[in-house]
Symmetry: C2
Subunit: 344 residues, 2 copies
């Protein structure tokens, strides 16, 4: 996918404007735009502004509520949240703020969220919490694309999860990944470029292992680590679908669908680090540990041992003014704005 | 590994007696024996009574405290536990009981445990919580055996995790697995039988991928799902090592070492299902979901789609009176008892 450099601020304004055109309050539009641009700035284009046109499309069709009334019930350290079919970023950010507030008071919190939508990269929320002194976990279910282990029919979502904590000079540690071996978008990209995919990423439509990306596009994704990713994807679905009182992956609609509310669910847990240990000591130990891991002997052909999130943070530091995004995105956004009645 | 059928009750008495010989109070000895025998009854021999002799060995050398004074501090929904170098099962069970009690009151709980030892199968604790109406997560760090992603030197433990919830007619859902691609014990077994291991399980001593089990025994384990298992193993270490105020994997000693206290850490979180949703509805939805997954179309050569924990629960149901354990285990236990001064 060819990329172009664009001015970050301009893209932010353009993105916010597009969402506002479809009835999203200005502040909320900026919240969503900021999350997508953050992903692009960290090199995670799959979760960046490339998604924006799809968000607009679903708002236009009335499949997403631009002005949700998010309702939260609390029992002890549990929050149960009804997202009222709002944009995932809005539902998630409002919940995250409540989580941080409550964890400050009682040390930790669990939040179970139903009736939401695609919330972008899970790591956006956990990293934000880490920057404010929390260890945080986030996961979300998604429309079905992954068959159960041994099966052919997609019944589970890619159900990604993220975990972050603050790490001194390293900024933060953030693991943010799908429970499938690879993302469908990545396989599509390989197919477009005529490249073979590694064995273990996907099956063809008949359920056979394949390295043929074009065939894999028509088949199901394989879970990461065999039965392990399958178990993790199911665990996510229980947290986001059953315990939230919402939909399971196979009951929910993909963000690329266009017939119903998605019904996506999310799950967060946060703990306040300073209620458990001395934060300075915690960060100093994390730093020393990372230093040691990075200085350890490497496998042949490996240039550097990386800490989860390190590459993304380096890219982010370099993208203060401009970011690289897929070439077609700006054009797509402008087209969507024209369709929405705005001449630019 | 050849297996023999033994009477479950007799093995339980024998196992408890061995631990009691080394100063473990009778009730605690029975707690530990029960956890190991439960693993054998579910077909997880790697975490069964085969570990007992090693526990006895470490008690004998004074490396494990048979009568720990477990101290727990609480802040809100956070428990911080010092295991006082007790047997992992004792530290974990005491903590689990406190967790269940507290979650009943405030909906959920996080427990960070330091200065413990090998606690057997993580699923033992989460399954027990599931049977009592909780969704539960458990993880533990362990002595170093897995290099960082791209590295050769073992710096992380196999750092297993487990997640369970109750599931009506299915009993429970339990995923219980290492964050490494395979267990070292499994690779040793392949080496003994002269079998090749799958690519992706381990590297040789020089860091090259290998299918030669004998060479893999001398090298490091690979993480499950490439960088994903690496990130998960690190997340476990932060929870069990840094947030608990205890040791990281590479600072702790393997249960097979014999020079120092292990310093193993654990982490639990539990939520009380009935504080979030109607339990009957929850279980009915889980059952229907499992039924649907199991009835979905299968890949060529696959006889049955399984729910995580299903095989283990079937084996357990068949092992009410007798269980199968590795042939050498009874003999090893009896030898250890003789060494301890008991003539049987």
């Amino acid at each position: 996918m060819a990329k172009v450099k664009v001015n970050k601020k301009e893209l932010f304004e353009l993105s916010s404007k597009l969402l506002a055109m479809y009835g999203v309050p200005e502040e909320d539009a900026r919240t969503v735009a900021a999350s997508l641009i953050d992903a692009d700035a960290r090199g995670i284009s799959s979760h960046g502004v490339v998604r924006l046109v799809q968000y607009a499309e679903r708002l236009k069709k009335g499949l997403v509520n631009p002005k949700p009334e998010i309702r939260t019930e609390r029992f002890g350290c549990l929050l149960s949240v009804d997202g009222d079919n709002g944009l995932g970023q809005i539902v998630a950010m409002r919940t995250l703020e409540k989580c941080m507030e409550l964890a400050l008071e009682i040390g930790g919190v669990f939040a179970f969220i139903r009736a939401s939508n695609h919330f972008g990269a899970a790591g956006y929320y956990t990293r934000m919490a880490a920057e404010r002194g929390y260890a945080a976990f986030a996961t979300s279910n998604a429309g079905p694309s992954v068959p159960p282990y041994g099966g052919i029919e997609p019944m589970l979502g890619t159900n990604p999860f993220s975990f972050s904590f603050p790490a001194g000079k390293y900024g933060d540690f953030t693991i943010d990944c799908a429970t499938s071996a690879a993302a469908k978008g990545k396989i599509r990209l390989y197919a477009r470029e005529g490249k073979e995919i590694p064995l273990g990423w996907a099956m063809d439509a008949d359920g056979n292992d394949t390295t043929d990306a074009a065939k894999a596009v028509l088949g199901g994704l394989l879970p990461m680590g065999w039965h392990k990713g399958y178990g993790l994807a199911m665990a996510t679905d229980v947290l986001c679908g059953l315990l939230s009182g919402g939909k399971l992956s196979h009951e929910s609609e993909s963000m690329y669908g266009c017939s119903a509310a998605a019904g996506t669910g999310h799950f967060f847990w946060l703990v306040r680090i300073d209620k458990l240990t001395d934060v300075k000591l915690f960060e100093a130990r994390a730093e020393a540990w990372f230093d040691e891991l990075k200085a350890s002997r490497r496998r042949p052909g490996v240039d550097e041992i990386l800490i989860p999130g390190e590459i993304e943070n380096r890219l982010f530091a370099k993208s203060e003014e401009t970011i690289e995004i897929p070439e077609s995105v700006v054009c797509d956004i402008k087209n969507a704005m024209c369709e929405g009645g705005c001449s630019i």
